[in-house]
Point group: C2
Chain length 154, copies 2
DNA sequence: TTTTATAGTCAACCATGGTTTACTAACTCC
DNA sequence: GGAGTTAGTAAACCATGGTTGACTATAAAA
């Protein structure tokens, strides 16, 4: 296999393309949310917490379990996120040790705006692909994720 | 949008899944190359240099230009990669300042091996999806990459 | 031939995203 | 009510993947 084939291989294999598209979307999402929130300080690690925080609120321990990192780490990130005013915290009325973390639901920095942005990227994708291709691709990719997440290493 | 919708959105949107699958494949690829090369010390940053090194060799400056990082950084990584015997170095006969970096072409550490590994993951994917779905997904994803790489931010 | 630009290295430093250890406060089980 | 467990925090530390500044050696331009 010569250099040209090598290059082609790298550019057209699905695995390579999936790595690439994942990075591009991620980058776009972060930029986009930073933009709408007007929060250039928003970090990747903050965004990574989003999917683990429920709308009605989630405790720090629960977030750390879901994400698979230490609660110390989550605690720190949550603190930063409250400082930049995208999260609020209240003490769990049922357990005063526990802090319930939730997205701000009103005001300029309301999560809806950020969420809309994330959704907008998905809409961009779906506009580009069309509904049929969007759905079949989603199905295929979800299948791949399951596949890679089950233990099937040689 | 209630909690359920929110959760579903995050868990099933194509953008979210593409980010996820990209990470999984990347991780799998690194593990796999480490495994085949028997090089547990191989870092992500080493692997990231691969596409920028030509078969006939490439200078450190050139690699750094291609990758868009400082030559100091590349210099360090190249040094590490020679220590673990992935790369060799010779002085450019045309310019004694310049060092030509190239993959060891014999033994275990050839670029072909690395390629085979990437291809193996791709074969896993294609086995899982089937040929038709593989090709349509590849087409869709490649289209998305083009789309995201052209400047279409609002 | 002197000046300027380039190739590479080294060391100091930095941001990111974690971990571990040690601790306090509160809940739960007995 | 005391023992053990859990929620959260704080501080020290760590790996990764960079950057910047200072330096040497060589090449190229004037």
């Amino acid at each position: 296999m010569d250099k040209t084939n090598f290059t082609n291989q790298k550019n057209t294999s699905l695995s390579h393309q999936l790595i690439k598209v994942g990075r591009l979307i991620n980058e776009r999402g972060l930029d986009s949310v930073r933009d709408v929130f007007n929060l250039p300080e928003l970090k990747q690690s903050h965004l990574d917490l989003f999917p683990h925080i429920d709308f009605e609120g989630t405790s720090i321990s629960e977030i750390s379990k879901r994400k698979g990192v230490s609660k110390q780490s989550v605690s720190k990130l949550v603190k930063e996120m409250t400082h930049i005013k995208i999260l609020s915290i209240k003490t769990d009325p049922e357990d005063s040790r526990s802090k319930i973390v939730f997205f701000k639901t009103s005001g300029f920095y309301s999560i809806q705006k950020g969420l809309e942005e994330l959704v907008a990227i998905d809409r961009l994708i779906s506009d580009h692909l069309g509904n049929k291709a969007y759905n079949s691709t989603l199905e295929n990719i979800s299948g791949l994720i399951d596949f890679f997440q089950t233990d099937n290493r040689k």
